[in-house]
């Protein structure tokens, strides 16, 4: 591990075969306005990386850039690279549709389709022409999402009959069903009650073996509970009115929370701001 230090940010690096996706000098613009500046991050494989920071600092924008979901927002533009499996996903030769199958996303508010539970999980597999046994795939995805026991008798019922927490686990099952390598989770538990939240956190631990997870969260306790590595973003202090998000510190979670390298990080963790 190499240490990169400058007075404004601190970040650990990984070797290329240790990281699954890498953001390189990312600048994100919405309708011409710079909202995230010079974001550099290497996401380690098979670990849970949390992305924390005050609201409005660009966390969601960053992970949405990882699977090119920002493409569907009019006015979005980006400078820099996002390297995934050795290739820059923003190069014109890459097809966003293919990338999105390989990188799964779970959203803040559960968004199951108005279809049956079975069809929700099978949806991604169907459009990507899954060659194997669909029933087995649905079952295995629901097992991995810790939802199978609760729904195995009602697979044909509407997904909307499930509770919020169950719907979110369904969305996770749906994302897993297309065998992504990387799972992006944008505040997956913020719309859920504490019991459901705990279930989601446990699920993340179980999924860590097979998938790499990046989770955006507002909840610092959740980040410290669940993640192996944490990246802290905030608004650029120098140009505070411009509201530009930057990466402040990226380190092992334990180290970041007990011994933050930057004062800004410490202030945020101890609740002095944000």
């Amino acid at each position: 591990m190499i240490l990169t230090t400058n007075i404004q940010s601190y970040s650990i690096n990984f070797h290329d075969d240790e990281s699954i996706i890498r953001a390189k000098q990312l600048n994100i613009y919405y309708s011409g306005k710079l909202t995230v500046e010079n974001f550099n991050l290497q996401v380690p494989k098979n670990k849970i990386t949390a992305l924390i920071g005050p609201s409005g600092c660009g966390k969601s924008s960053v992970i949405r850039s990882f699977n090119r979901m920002n493409d569907i927002i009019p006015g979005f533009s980006l400078e820099g690279e996002v390297i995934y499996k050795g290739k820059n996903i923003y190069s014109s030769r890459e097809d966003p549709v293919r990338i999105r199958r390989q990188i799964g996303m779970v959203f803040q508010k559960p968004n199951p389709f108005p279809k049956s539970i079975y069809e929700n999980v099978a949806f991604g597999a169907r459009i990507n022409k899954y060659q194997g046994n669909l029933d087995e795939l649905v079952e295995s995805s629901l097992i991995q999402a810790a939802l199978w026991d609760e729904v195995k008798d009602k697979l044909k019922e509407s997904a909307y009959a499930l509770s919020g927490g169950q719907q979110q686990r369904l969305c996770i099952a749906r994302a897993i069903a297309v065998s992504p390598d990387l799972l992006l989770m944008d505040e997956p538990a913020s719309a859920l009650d504490p019991v459901a939240t705990l279930k989601i956190e446990e699920l993340m631990w179980e999924l860590k073996d097979k998938y790499t997870i990046v989770v955006v969260t507002h909840n610092m306790q959740q980040a410290s509970r669940v993640s192996d590595y944490t990246a802290f973003m905030s608004l650029d202090r120098e140009k505070i009115e411009d509201r530009i998000g930057v990466l402040v510190e990226f380190d092992e979670t334990k180290k970041l929370f007990t011994n933050p390298k930057l004062k800004e990080t410490e202030d945020y963790i101890t609740g002095r701001f944000g």
Binding site: K45, V97, R101, A125, N128, Y130, G132, D209
Partner: protein, 337 residues
């Protein structure tokens, strides 16, 4: 390392078919574009067709003459007069009731079953075919259920002086004022026609006015109430002035629809051949679309292709003008909150 192996074997299970799906995507794009453009293409063809056939016949004769057996002398003077008068009266009748109903529904109506029923009813009326309104007009306004025919029980009971004949009925002067002449039943007059058309456009007027009133932010009303004044005062001095442009736009658009309507007026008794200008609102009449229809049904090409085309050009021009005014009004008085 083990995790990586597992991922790559699973990836092979997805045929993905990206290039085929992208091709489907492109084809679909084209199909959709064709769907949209088809209607517009037809619109263009329609206008060109009419312009080509009718343009040469839009001459002063079209506006100065009545319909005649000789195409070169035919015009639609009486139809134009009829249309103008009927539309004017339609606006007069439908505006108060329509706006009143809109104000009631937006500002006064409680959330109960009756209000739901009224709403449902208005939406239903908007979907009733226009020909049915013509039949309604015929019975209720034109003939008045036969109450004023010579042998009706009503006439016998009250000993009403009825004139016989086609334009018969009870003619009297309201409050004995000489120029407030009333004919009952309304018969085949412009009054009956205007009332019929008012009922036809009423649902649309109500719906459009409601939207205009709804667009006024609640804070305006609250400000008025907070100053301590009555409900009607708030509505009439604060809400309505802001809503009026939207209401007027809706009104003009509804009238522009009415001016193109043919069937209801035919059913309720408008004539096709009216070789004179109406002198009073109780006179027989015809309107532009009926005149156009009449020409379309005549065998000679001069009528059914050229004069009809010319008449349509005039009608479309009037519509274009009215819609243009409505849109201009909307843009000019649009307040951006």
């Amino acid at each position: 390392m083990i995790a990586e192996k597992k991922i790559s074997t699973e990836t092979n299970q997805y045929k993905e078919n990206i290039s085929r799906r992208n091709r489907t995507e492109k084809i679909f794009n084209v199909i959709l574009l064709i769907s949209v453009l088809f209607g517009l293409l037809m619109l263009t063809v329609l206008i060109i067709d009419i312009a080509v056939e009718g343009y040469a016949w839009v001459r002063p004769e079209l506006f100065e003459n009545y319909h005649s057996r000789k195409p070169e002398n035919a015009g639609m003077k009486s139809a134009i007069a009829g249309s103008i008068i009927v539309i004017f009266m339609t606006g007069l009748f439908s505006f108060p009731v329509g706006v009143g109903a809109a104000i009631y529904l937006e500002e006064y109506a409680p959330k109960n079953r009756l209000t739901d029923f009224i709403n449902l009813n208005i939406n239903n009326l908007a979907g009733v075919p226009s020909i049915v309104y013509g039949m309604l007009g015929l019975v209720v306004f034109g003939r008045m259920f036969g109450l004023f025919s010579i042998d009706s029980w009503f006439v016998k009971l009250f000993n009403i002086p009825i004139e016989s004949g086609a334009t018969g009925g009870w003619k009297f002067f309201l409050f004995d004022i000489p120029w407030l002449e009333i004919h009952l039943p309304f018969g085949r007059s412009m009054v009956a026609g205007a009332l019929t058309m008012s009922l036809l456009i009423l649902p649309v007027v109500i719906i459009a006015s409601r939207e205009a009133i709804r667009a006024v932010p609640p804070s305006i009303r609250e400000g008025g109430y907070a100053l301590g004044t009555t409900k009607w005062h708030v509505i009439s001095t604060l809400v309505l002035p802001i809503a009026i442009p939207g209401i007027l736009t809706g009104m003009i658009l509804s009238l522009s629809r009415a001016i193109g309507e043919t069937a209801p007026l035919i059913i309720m008794g408008a004539f096709t051949y009216v070789p004179f200008l109406p002198k009073t609102v109780w006179d027989q009449f015809t309107v532009i679309p009926i005149q156009i229809y009449n020409w379309i049904t005549l065998p000679q090409t001069e009528y059914r292709v050229h004069l009809a085309g010319a008449g349509i050009l005039v009608l479309l021009f009037i519509l274009f003008l009215m819609n243009g005014i409505a849109i201009y009004l909307r843009k000019k008085f649009e307040i951006k909150w």
